[in-house]
Symmetry: C2
Subunit: 285 residues, 2 copies
């Protein structure tokens, strides 16, 4: 990725802030403009060095940007992208970091994919990185290193732009995967959204008087349940059909294990645990 003069980040929370820090630390942009709605969040991003300047005025903030990354909550992304497209210079490339992709793509004017209006183009993306902590105060320049980043082109996108967004994530240290928005949402349902709701239900099942006895295993298994509630509520609903599909797969296997325990069927329990161990061993630490 060649060094850019001006990059704008709309939404400077954990992800936006970490992109800013990484761009600055890797000297990939001369100026990083943080755009947001809460002055306090913008000040945090500025103080921790994630951005070089901040503004609450989106139109002014993107006026000179060559690249704009929209990192707002997922339900705001489509409208922010459209707003950026109206105010950025001709030829600007826009991407996002939203956790679900089909809803965003469906909400955008198709002219944005091929760049039919003033040469402004959008290619979607999603870094598979994060934390149960939110806010720019927890941003880290290495948040994306060795983590997957999924680029989600649609038919209308130009190959050159898909490559540019892929190069952007590679430059931040990510392993880039490319798939359609539909496939992305399907994969995320089982690798991210299902784990989140399962972890939440597990944490929710704990009784207060059992707290002193919890193990590090319980802490690991439920860690993501500490994540931002509003963000996750939006994700679960914006990917509803896929989440329900994955959940049904989970419930089916859970019912099978439930029955095996009930019947005292050691062989069946061993089979389910062995399959799970084999899959988990392939994930690595």
């Amino acid at each position: 990725m060649k060094r850019l003069d001006t990059v704008a980040i709309v939404g400077v929370g954990l992800i936006g802030g970490s992109i800013g820090l990484a761009l600055r630390e890797r000297k990939l942009a001369n100026r990083v403009i943080g755009i947001g709605w809460r002055r306090s969040s913008l000040q945090v991003a500025k103080r921790c060095g994630a951005v070089t300047s901040v503004t609450t005025n989106l139109a002014g903030g993107v006026a000179e940007a060559e690249l704009v990354i929209v990192c707002t909550p997922v339900d705001l992304i489509a409208e922010r992208v459209e707003e950026v497209a109206r105010h950025c210079p001709a030829g600007t490339l826009i991407t996002d970091a939203g956790s679900t992709k089909q809803q965003i793509v469906a909400g955008l004017d198709e002219a944005l994919f091929a760049g039919d209006v003033r040469g402004v183009r959008f290619v979607g993306g999603h870094p598979i990185a994060g934390s149960e902590r939110s806010g720019a105060r927890h941003a880290r320049a290495d948040l994306f290193v060795d983590r997957p980043a999924i680029v989600t082109p649609v038919d209308g996108n130009r190959a050159k732009d898909i490559r540019a967004i892929s190069e952007f994530w590679k430059a931040l240290g990510s392993r880039v995967l490319t798939m359609s928005p539909a496939r992305h949402d399907e994969v995320m349902a089982s690798t991210s959204h299902l784990p989140h709701l399962v972890a939440a239900v597990l944490a929710g099942t704990l009784k207060a008087d059992e707290l002193p006895a919890v193990s590090s295993g319980f802490a690991d298994t439920t860690r993501i349940a500490a994540g931002d509630v509003d963000l996750w509520q939006e994700i679960l609903l914006s990917n509803k059909a896929n989440v329900l599909n994955s959940l049904e797969r989970f419930e089916k296997l859970l019912a099978s294990l439930h029955k095996a325990i009930e019947r005292g069927d050691a062989a069946r329990i061993t089979k389910i645990l062995s399959d799970a161990k084999e899959k988990r061993d392939a994930v690595g630490s």
Copy 2:
């Protein structure tokens, strides 16, 4: 805890090995005798310094022990404790590290609790520590530090012995909790056994082609599913009634979240995620 001359550990895997390492590092025992059935495992324990000598002969191994800790798989503990009781010196204190407690207590001669035969007494225990890795090669002297250790006395036990086993775990760095075997098994079902089976089912739901896209959140949530399959199959069955109870509580909340997603009920989803976050936040990292 006063320094002991001879301690015997029956079963020198991750837990037995870590107890040995901790006893030696903290200078709590002059001799630590490792007793096991596989010579290769015994040699690993010896090489990593967890024990000062090893033997496959249980009778000989416990012949001079003041304290014996039985760390075998849970389904072997009761018979090993009885065997230790027949061969150890008069007045020896025996404990264990089994993950479920009612079955063990039910399998023991009641004379062992108050020390009616040769003054040999048994008090059950369970360190809430471990790892998805097994074997003495992964043993760590600090495995129990700041971790709960549950001492599970029965009515027949003497206060002095309960105190001695509590002091033993404190000396290894644990936070000691005391509860009945029945209560222990109930608490473990929801804090440990349920998380294990949920993590296994979650890992089992993953499709091979989704593997490259997994997040650190998925890795955390499923980490314990890499644990020893035989050990966990035994635990789930030896605590069957409590495990099924906890599982039903989990399934009920899961069904409620399932329905809320289906109906697009954002308020209900938010409520379930918020409750879960509040409970998880209380757990700490």
